[in-house]
Amino acid sequence: MKDVITVAKFTIKEMIKRKSFIISTLIILVMIVVGFNIPNFIDSISGGDFSEKLLVVDNDNVFEGQLEALKEADSGYDIEIGKASFDEIKTKIENDEISAAIIIEKQEENVKIRYILEDITMMQGVPEDLMSTFNTLYSNIQISKLGLTQEELESITPNFEFTLEQTDEEEASGNILVMMIMSIILFYAIYFCAYQVSSSITTEKTSKIIETLVTSTSPRTIVLGKTLGIGIVGLIQMIVIVGTAFISAKSFLDPELLNSVLDMSNITPYLAVITIVYFVLGYLIYALLYALTGSTISKPEDIQSANSPVAIFAVISFYLSYFTMMNPTSNLNIFASLFPFSAPFCMPFRVMMGLASVTDVVISIVILLASILIVAQVAIKIYSNAILNYGTKMGFKDILNMYKSKEN
């Protein structure tokens, strides 16, 4: 155990001293802080004025001088009422005095409302909200002219209640899009951390230091120490990144904007613990698989091809949980939450959606732990036999033979 700690300590030191590690972590942190500040930057550049300036011209007085009411309606536009010709409007738009204009013109049989922008390439049509604002205002003007009583007015105003329901008994809560994004982040965190184990083992093998190392301590100690060390660095890195994102979101983002994207009530300490547990277990199972493939490589150019089976396996497992998340009550998603290689990408989100009971989580963790023990056994055995082999790249058959032969 003492040697495992010595190996882990050395691995941690090696990792955190690496320039590439320091720079990439710093870049991620800066990107997070900058990312969460983008709304504020835009705010400060546009002088705190988010809404677009819209000039409304009603030359024919269709709205009977009631257009001022538009300013009170929450239309999302900074509305200015005025008079101008098309050419004047063109000049104002070109000079950035306004971003758009509306010209209301009375025609013989109807009223034409022209929505004028500098460029309409990106527009699907006149915005719905704008149309409905004008429709409502016009209806109100006409209704008030009819002199209806309060009751009559209420009777023609629809009083509908729209709700969204499902036939399935289990109901998922939370924003599926956010979960998918977080699932991708968790996948990359686990995957890249685990990949480091392979890369570290390969470096030791290709630099021939392994011969000295393996006479100084046992292969088991090396694999476990390395996995532990890289895992600790990865976990701390993830906590720092998530922590920075959390603090940045809280301190830089408008709380309303934040709540519209992420329901903070879903993020409980229980979920945080579950996520960390699955990160650690997911990391362990993939790190050990990578220890196995990493030990079979003798030349740096073989890294890609030797590691690709693990990479393909990881991606398939990830997609198994990712795509079934859209249908979280399906049997396939339940399978993904129990299958040890996909559980780390799936279970935290079932917990977040309120679909997994404590028993489900415990069963999944037990399966995962048992699988880790099996993978560890196989990985250490093959590592022990493969690290001193500097020959050509090993095939599946060679690896199988190494598993069958005596452990060194």
């Binding site: 001293k17 630099s207 011969e211 000295t212 006479t215 001193l388 005596k406 060194n408």
Partner: protein, 296 residues
């Protein structure tokens, strides 16, 4: 006491790497393990160190079966390797700690050996900045830093310049003086002759020659005569049907099959009034013996 191998064998994927070899090191000294490339030396060393398991036979150190824990050994592998980006001092501490040393003891030992090997100024540098020879000295340090009882040196002098070779030689002599057991594998036969009292020559995994180097040589008949004269003596050599191996400034190295012919040649030369400055009947070198045993 010491190291003993009894009928040790190892097979890799049906191919015999080491076939039934036995050897004994019962007094401190340097034991020579020789063989061509692929003869089974590294496999033998790895089995002695417990890095790979033997298929059969017995390996004991002080009467106890060896494994990683039971022997305090140091190893300089033939495959040289260092952590390229890590500070020399950090990697030395790492290996010393893995060998069970306390950090303070490790630091003292590193300082002592760095001084002796003249690599003090490199301690704070990453290994990749060091020359190959200096990297090799660092690796030699990892092998001896923890004061091991058994030191295995695989090609310790390959790639070293004469100055550094001398430094290393003196350290090895000191190790033996301090009661250490050293197993040395090398391709330079003069080095082995200089250090080793006992040798074992492997060929294709099998022992082809084993024993005390001096005694082995005694069993071989003289193979050459060196004669230094003041004029040319080709005529006398050809008369006796002998073959010149080398000649430089009237110093001849002549192959002989029996010593009698050498004496006849000397008599013939002297009786013809030629002055002889040097006359030396030579036993075969280890190189000759090696080539005879493993050359095909």
């Amino acid at each position: 006491m010491g190291l003993e191998l009894k009928n040790v064998s190892k097979t890799f994927a049906g191919k015999i790497a080491v076939d039934n070899i036995s050897l004994t090191l019962n007094t401190p000294g340097v034991y020579g393990l020789l063989g061509t490339n692929g003869a089974g030396k590294t496999t033998t060393i790895r089995m002695i160190l417990g890095i790979i398991k033997k298929d059969s036979g017995e390996i004991t150190w002080n009467g106890k079966a060896v494994d990683r824990k039971s022997v305090n050994f140091g190893y300089l592998p033939e495959e040289r390797g260092v952590y390229p980006k890590t500070k020399i001092f950090d990697q030395l501490i790492y290996f010393a700690e893995l060998k069970g040393m306390k950090t303070d003891d490790a630091k003292n030992s590193i300082n002592k050996w760095a001084k002796e090997l003249k690599v003090e100024e490199y301690m704070d540098m990453p290994a990749e900045k060091l020359s190959k020879g200096n990297q090799q000295k660092i690796q030699f340090m990892t092998a001896i830093i923890h004061n091991p009882e058994l030191v295995v040196l695989d090609e310790p002098f390959s790639g070293l310049d004469p100055v550094n070779t001398e430094i290393l030689k003196n350290i090895i002599i000191d190790l033996v003086r301090n009661g250490k057991y050293v197993i040395m594998s090398a391709h330079q036969m003069p080095t082995i002759e200089e250090f080793c009292s006992d040798i074992l020559i492997l060929n294709k995994g099998k022992t082809v020659l084993k024993g005390n180097l001096k005694e082995i040589k005694e069993t071989y008949p003289a193979s050459r005569v060196r004669i230094d004269t003041d004029t040319k003596i080709e005529k006398y050599i050809q008369e006796l049907d002998l073959k010149i191996e080398n000649e430089k400034n009237n110093e001849y190295v002549i192959k002989i099959t029996d010593e009698e012919k050498a004496h006849t040649l000397l008599n013939n030369v002297i009786s013809n009034g030629i002055k002889v400055n040097k006359f030396d009947i030579m036993k075969p070198t280890l190189n000759d013996i090696f080539i005879e045993k493993v050359g095909e």
